[in-house]
Symmetry: C2
Subunit: 437 residues, 2 copies
Amino acid sequence: MNQTYINELKNHIGEEVTLKGWLYNSRSSGKLVFLQLRDGTGIVQCVCFRPNNEEVFEKAKSLGQESSIIVTGKVKEDTRSAIGVELDVTGLEVIQNASEYPITPKEHGTEFLMDNRHLWIRSKKQHAVLKVRHTVIKATRDFFDNNGFILADTPIFTPAACEGTTTLFEVDYFDDDKAYLTQSGQLYNEATAAAFGKSYAFGPVFRAEKSKTRRHLTEFWMVEPEMAYAQLDDVMTLGEGLIKFIVERVLADRRDELAVLERDVTKLEAILEKGFPRVHYDEAVKLLKEGFAKGELDNDFEWGGDFGAPDETYLSKQFDAPVFVHHFPAVIKAFYFERDKDRPECALGADLLAPEGYGEIIGGGERAMDLEFLEQQIEHHNLPKEAFEWYLDLRRFGTVPHAGFGMGIERCTAWMCGIEHVRETIPFPRMLYRLKP
Amino acid sequence: MNQTYINELKNHIGEEVTLKGWLYNSRSSGKLVFLQLRDGTGIVQCVCFRPNNEEVFEKAKSLGQESSIIVTGKVKEDTRSAIGVELDVTGLEVIQNASEYPITPKEHGTEFLMDNRHLWIRSKKQHAVLKVRHTVIKATRDFFDNNGFILADTPIFTPAACEGTTTLFEVDYFDDDKAYLTQSGQLYNEATAAAFGKSYAFGPVFRAEKSKTRRHLTEFWMVEPEMAYAQLDDVMTLGEGLIKFIVERVLADRRDELAVLERDVTKLEAILEKGFPRVHYDEAVKLLKEGFAKGELDNDFEWGGDFGAPDETYLSKQFDAPVFVHHFPAVIKAFYFERDKDRPECALGADLLAPEGYGEIIGGGERAMDLEFLEQQIEHHNLPKEAFEWYLDLRRFGTVPHAGFGMGIERCTAWMCGIEHVRETIPFPRMLYRLKP
């Protein structure tokens, strides 16, 4: 018999349908067994009434958690149900009666759950988080595709170290050659933007950081748009547009999942109403110094430094929307940043700080377009010039003002979901001491 | 002044607009200079007429290939132009007058072009190929998203070798640990399909094969859908749907690019009209033996063997549509394939052979659902059982019939484009001896 999906049941009230899935949970009471059936699209209560069918009732009663079952029954409207329907079971086929499923409804430790990630992703909350992730990615791609960007995947294997090798993963390539896993597609994006005008890369990137914080993964997904004939302001305009588009989509398509996660959606809704403030680094320093004076920050922030997590959280709390900080000190930014003409100690970078303590979720800016300046920077940073010759070609042959940014998908997803740790926002997280399953 | 894009010019006939881009080519004739301007969305002829503006004329005449320029002018209908318009130039701002651009209109060798890949992607043909790639990817994602699949990215870092380590890239993880770059997300997909019912992974995969053929890259992109409660026929139905959806989209959105590539589009159009034949391996062997008898194949194919490129090409020529071959000998397939109950020497696998010699572009099948059978297979293949415990869990807790496939994006793109070599279908190809730029 044809399979009907749980998320379509509302269109089949009064009909007999067949559902194929797994037993999420069950309870029995006298002549009734209630099976919570999940099929990946939702969960529905299936009611087995003993007088209707003794055999079905007995089978249903014996089922262990995560048993694979095919259930036939009549769809009945039920206003108490979250999905508005339940199923009056008429037939039950057991594919496998599972026993001793390791993730029981009781509380488990994170390490145990991570070791069983291949099963943990079946649970309601993980399910919700990963569906939000799906929507964040879909929205991100649609946003760029709808706005004239060409997807140009940048390579994972890179020959040279952009910004030092300490946070790079090294790979044995052929014949004793070494390759490094990409940390960012940006340099390559600059080449594709010169070809396509507007381009983006979207793939996994790798950071061999020995950090064990709630914001770090060794392998995560990043979207990186790049625009030719664009400047710092364009980065902020594009970034604001992207975030609002994602928030809109998540609110439109993932209400149920946000409810499972007990996400306060008013905080997301509020973002759509506001313009994102654009704050000069100088101004941000002033705010941080005020915060220190008021005793709300432990550290007296000095001009020239990079924000720590408490600084970012404090800054974002001063505004009722995500906030861009721009014009960072050049010394804390990569060699390829364009400088402010009037204040060359300032790089034309812009970071977006998410609200609610989610920190930097977009980082980008304008890239230096002058060949000589870049050659000096490469020398100044002791980078191997030969490895950057192709990159310098972009300044030799038709250099233009250009700009772009990167956004980490997992941090964005964590923020949308309102969850603490990025490790739950990717199906199989990879961290300092986590390479399994 | 606001930038207008070349692909929008038809909506601005009679108006003055500003274009920002690069000089693709130019020629002059008496009082006229014709600038071929590219901006990533297209190429338009910009006409500088000396009597109109002496200064613009002189500047235009001096420009080298790939100079970055901002051109203002009036949009004029022009029926001789491929895009239906040209520009009467009234202003010209030169951002950079480039000289000695390495890729001139003359012929260059492939190695030289590959060394200059960061510039080569600006040329008409490469541009067209990569835009077709963009559309293939977009169509693929839309197809799965529209059909209820959840995107669940599988990890790049994997702990164990699925099918031997000889074709795996090894990475130094932390504390002397080793990780291997994924060759396929399939095993993980089986976990996500049990969570979501229908899932797909779409990311880069890696093969350390010492092959230097026109079909091999060490790093390429693969889409891998997986369905719970699905069988061999579902794989073929889904694959046919996907291919037709991609062909339709490419024909709808990339006509101009296919024209640049001189692609015979009638061959793509024909695919939409046909059902894809489904041929049992036994039948395929019979056809290959006939081919040998007729002298059209050098090799007398024997039951039990895997198809070589000439076999695939011969087989696909016997049909007027892409053809599925199914029920391969189990010995040539991976350990996890489900077997035909009546003929256990046959694996429930199905490969799709593309027409025109493009070979296998989809490979998949039904996965074994029985725990004991898989345990035997793992032992039989001398695989480390402990590394597969999580995978075996999927058979312990709610095992179901399930099936899926993988499709390589670059091979599919090469086929759509009608080009010889996959290396042109990815922005920065990585091959045996190619790690740059």
